[in-house]
Symmetry: C2
Subunit: 172 residues, 2 copies
DNA sequence: ACTTGCAATGTTATATCATCACATAGAAAT
DNA sequence: ATTTCTATGTGATGATATAACATTGCAAGT
């Protein structure tokens, strides 16, 4: 469950698509995207919110609110749950992060540039989480909703199972 | 949030497809289906489990574990959380009930006869929940998973929004 | 019939996740 | 400068969930 801290210029497998990628400046990019988005929408990416997003971006995995709270406190912010929950609510509302309902945890958005319906694959073995680009999926749900006369505001799509890495491990 | 108790021979709108249906013997039918399923799989539908399923079937809506626990206690069973959680885990594992992750609540399965991938529409206004028959939806998710090399074991698909009834209400 | 084994239940305690209410501080609007 | 509104900090509490262990009851093997 613990995971190595990301060091500079290192490439390691991470759960964005369960594939290796260069993590180096994806944090800066994502923060910049969030700032732009906030500016465009007349909301503020305050220090706590920004720090919370940074924390989520450090690791591409889902973090519990209290885990985030710990790190916010270490960074000099408030130490009560509401501090974390408020920052997270903001990030989720503004599309910079998603809540993984299955885990009661939060993860930085992996597709912050494009409008998308988030979908996730969650490994039961190593707890890694991959965000899937999946508008087709939503279309199918949308049909059912249309027939029923239901007006969708937000969808949650999460698959639990085994990631490729853990499938390999289980074979040996 | 409260909902009228179902009385005999009455037809009322309920959240199974947000449409009116005859509720009269759907409880008996579902219990019978669960019993058959248990017999076929060498597991036991014990009194607590059966009662928990009955409780869920009484209303076609999502009930929290503690709400179920209250009623189990009233029926003479144990009064501690584990009692409810264990019965619910059993029902979920055996397909007689589903957990609604968005609500941290449980609901009787509306399609207990057929194998299916559960999907739900949840009204933010009246808290009604409709189970959707939606294998197509899963196929789309399955494609993404296949490409990623992820082995899906279980999926959660939930849409929140407004049900037809509440859309109508909001128009007036 | 005994007893061994196992699944299910009950209970105590505690862990984990989340929100409410209210005070204070700081930015934006007038 | 004053007002207003948003954001933050804190204390208290609520809601959801599991761990650990004792007890019971049934069923298989002898």
């Amino acid at each position: 469950m613990t995971r190595a801290i990301q060091t500079k210029n290192e490439k390691l497998p991470d759960p964005v698509g369960f594939a290796t990628h260069d993590h180096n400046d994806c944090i800066d990019t994502a923060i910049a995207a969030a700032e732009t988005h906030c500016a465009n929408n007349g909301v503020r990416l305050t220090p706590v919110r920004r720090k919370a997003l940074e924390i989520l971006l450090q690791e591409h995995r889902a973090l519990g609110a209290y885990e985030i709270l710990d790190r916010l406190r270490d960074a000099g912010f408030g130490s009560q749950p509401a501090v974390a929950y408020r920052a997270l609510e903001f990030l989720v509302t503004n599309g910079s992060a998603h809540k993984i309902e299955r885990l009661n945890a939060f993860i930085a958005c992996a597709h912050s540039k494009v409008s998308h319906v988030p979908a996730f694959m969650i490994c039961t073995e190593c707890d890694s989480v991959a965000e899937v680009q999946s508008n087709l999926t939503n279309k199918a749900f949308g049909n059912a909703a249309h027939v029923a006369g239901f007006r969708i505001e937000q969808t949650t799509m999460e698959a639990v199972g085994l990631c490729p890495v853990c499938i390999d491990k289980s074979k040996t």
